[in-house]
């Protein structure tokens, strides 16, 4: 007779088969059998976080920085509800995760048992898919499917809910070699006829623009995007999620676009005659008011793996459904086979226009100020790390300054919650990044409000010796909220002042880390050098910054892209 394994053993064996090296989690009653099996082996290493939200963010940071599936493990009830913010964050940014949750025993489901919640119901709107495993016989195949669904097509989080009795029952373990699902067959190759139409439009363009988003990063298509842009000589912008998809130090890069995008990127977006949208979804933070966007006439090519992203907010002329990398390979091939070239005279004139927009120097700030300007901290961070660090961020002004001033030349180096905008993401995400990239410099750019949302993870960082550098741009305000109140609510700063702040230096020290407080502009660079020199230490750098600095440019909500508030 073949030996039978318990559901818990099968779960761990599946993770081993998937090549999972780290799993981020927190134990509890419903997952005790699974923890017992994790304990008995050492291939899948468990990282104990201090809050389930952090487990999911850490798995997420791991996935974003490595292109592997991130895995988290939480218990039933409050374990799951704590994890929901993390799951929704990953869902909005299309990050491949498998979240395993414990559930009360099958016979207790529906009886309001201790620590029971309808996990599948609660998470349904914020997962790519979820499963409740009711029978041990389905467990291995379900986990296989979960990894497959999470990582193919438009990626996303998949949750597998395992009742406690299922983790205890036994069956013969067989891990399926492959998955075939009649209801799920994501396309990869784009339609070559559509690509031909795109080539035609591109070659006829007078004022072209390439607008590339997170899809470029997710499909590992940065090399193809770079080749395309350089071959055509077109201007290129990246969304907040796409930064690093095209090298920011190249002159063809016109900066990030959108609500806090550069003047030149937003103006070029508004005034181009042919727009090539690549793995981007015309988000409300990107194009502002869609009506205003259509005041100008342009033809749009849209490449995306998700058909429902196409013509959702903006009607397009040439939709191409497929994985960005496959489509770009084909597009480049077709372009190379054509004798015609782009209209160079028109392109030169267009570049002259863009350069005049660029000369507006929209990111300028007072470099001589007697207080620390947050922008300057990011510029120095860029300088000190040689542009080579992994940068995670929280949500707020500091996030926008990091996006504007750290020039990302490589993909998967900029890790932020773009879609959901989750404060508290930065530190746990940095933990996942550090696990996926041991030995690489990892910095978390944050604010004094955001960092307090997952500050407990300083303890996790100590336990696993994660030498993350925390760059706290401390303006004593929920700066982004304060900025909106200043601009749109008559300077009434309702509840946006951060009172009763801890002494972050002593707080960091109490966890066994190094803390630094930096108050003078002249000290910023040296302090950063010192901190990054401490290669095996977490350093909490508390920068006391200008309290009332604002992020510019800004497209106010409901306004058009070219209606920016400029400094």
């Amino acid at each position: 007779m073949e030996t039978e394994l318990t559901g818990a053993e099968i779960t761990v064996r599946c993770l081993q088969k998937e090549g999972v090296d780290y799993i981020f989690g927190y134990p509890g009653g419903a997952v005790l059998f699974i923890y017992d099996e994790l304990f008995k082996q050492d291939k899948v290493r468990h990282v104990l976080v201090r809050h389930e939200q952090a487990a999911v963010h850490a798995a997420d940071g791991y996935a974003r920085s490595s292109n592997k599936v991130g895995v988290a493990l939480v218990t039933s009830g409050p374990g799951v509800t704590n994890a929901v913010t993390g799951i929704a964050t990953a869902y909005m940014d299309s990050i491949p995760l498998v979240v395993i949750s414990g559930q009360v025993p099958t016979h207790a489901i529906g009886l309001d048992a201790f620590q029971e919640v309808d996990t599948v119901g609660i998470t349904r709107p914020c997962v790519k898919h979820n499963f409740l495993v009711k029978e041990i016989g389905e467990l291995a195949a379900t986990i296989k499917k979960a990894f497959y669904i999470a990582s193919t097509g438009r990626p996303g989080p998949v949750l597998v809910d395992i009742p406690k009795d299922v983790s205890q029952q036994t069956t013969v373990f067989r891990y399926p070699e492959s998955v075939a699902m009649r209801s799920y067959n994501p396309v990869t190759k784009g339609h070559s006829g559509q690509i031909k139409k795109a080539v035609q439009l591109i070659l006829g363009a007078k004022r072209p623009m390439i607008y590339a988003g997170g899809g470029v990063i997710l499909s590992d298509a940065a090399p193809q995007l770079t080749e395309l842009v350089q071959m055509l000589g077109f201007p290129c912008t990246n969304t907040l999620m796409g930064l690093g998809g095209y090298p920011a130090t190249d002159p063809r890069f016109v900066g990030m676009l959108g609500m806090h995008g550069t003047y030149e990127a937003n103006m070029a977006m508004q005034h181009c005659d042919v727009l090539v949208a690549i793995g981007a979804r015309f988000d409300d933070r990107v194009i502002g008011n869609p009506k205003h966007f259509f005041n100008e006439e342009r033809r749009i090519i849209h490449i995306d793996i998700d058909p429902s992203s196409i013509s959702k907010r903006v009607k397009v002329d040439v939709p191409i459904v497929g994985s960005v990398s496959d489509v770009l390979v084909e597009l480049i091939k077709q372009l190379k086979s054509r004798k015609e070239t782009v209209d160079q005279a028109a392109l030169d004139a267009w570049w002259a226009q863009i350069e005049s927009w660029r000369s507006r120097d929209c990111l300028k700030y007072d470099r001589e100020a007697p207080v620390i300007k947050p922008q300057m901290v990011i510029e120095k961070l860029y300088k000190v790390t040689g542009g080579n660090a992994f940068i995670t961020s929280d949500v707020g002004q500091h996030q926008m300054w990091a996006a504007q001033f750290y020039k990302f030349d490589k993909p998967r180096r900029w890790i932020n919650s773009g879609g959901l905008g989750t404060m508290g993401f930065g530190l746990p995400a940095a933990m996942g990044v550090q696990f996926a990239n041991p030995g690489s410099p990892v910095a978390c750019v944050t604010g004094e409000a955001s960092i307090q949302m997952c500050i407990q993870e300083l303890s996790t960082c100590k336990q696993y010796n994660l030498p993350i550098k925390i760059i706290n741009l401390n303006n004593r305000y929920m700066g982004m909220v304060r900025q909106w109140q200043e601009f749109f609510h008559g300077n009434r700063y309702a509840e946006s002042y951060m009172d009763a702040l801890p002494d972050f230096v002593r707080l960091a020290e109490s966890y066994g880390h190094v803390g630094m407080k930096i108050q003078q502009p002249g000290d910023v660079e040296d302090a950063l050098r010192e901190a990054f020199g401490l290669k095996d230490k977490l350093v909490f750098m508390d920068f006391v910054t200008d309290q009332t600095e604002n992020v510019f440019p800004m497209v106010p909500g409901g306004k058009g892209l070219s209606e920016m508030i400029l400094v």
Partner: protein
């Protein structure tokens, strides 16, 4: 515009709530929704009647296709199709009303399927507007109870929705 969308999906627990949840979370209209297993017990067939602009309906079909358990989606209203809905209606039937109600049921090709000395229960099948017309035709105060299944639809001729 009114659209009738048919889909085939895996006959699994929770599949229905994914579809219903999609409509509510994305604020799509839902006029009626019917679902039952097909001749292949691993598949369910669902018919959803919705209203929306062409853009919205395009999004609805794309979003439905995106659900992992949905195997196929067609917008039946894009071509020739047949639509039927069934209604059971219980009417107060006393005195001379009994004759009148029976006559109405005949005109609409309804069948009387339950009789008491005070009531008739009629089964009526047709398009939604036929059922509406029947309701308009009978004396409102005589209606004791109605139950409608919501529309089911099928393509005409060679238009077939199958895996």
């Amino acid at each position: 515009m009114r659209h009738i969308i048919s889909l085939l999906m895996e006959n699994e627990a929770g599949a229905l709530s994914r579809v219903a949840g999609l409509f509510s979370s994305r604020a799509y209209n839902i006029e009626s929704l019917t679902v039952a297993p097909t001749e292949d017990p691993t598949l369910s067939r669902m018919t959803v009647v919705t209203t929306g602009s062409d853009d919205v309906v395009e999004q609805i079909t794309k979003q439905l296709n995106k659900l992992i358990e949905v195997v196929k989606v067609v917008d039946l209203s894009e071509g020739d199709h047949i639509e039927r809905e069934m209604m059971l209606i219980k009417l107060r039937a006393v005195g001379e009303d009994r004759q009148e109600i029976k006559r109405m049921a005949d005109i609409f090709r309804g069948r009387i399927i339950d009789v008491t000395d005070k009531s008739y229960t009629i089964e009526l099948t047709g398009t939604g507007s036929k059922l509406d017309a029947f309701l308009d035709g009978v004396n409102r105060s005589a209606i004791l109870e109605t139950v409608r299944t919501g529309a089911s639809g099928i393509g005409r001729g060679e238009r077939i929705l199958k895996v």
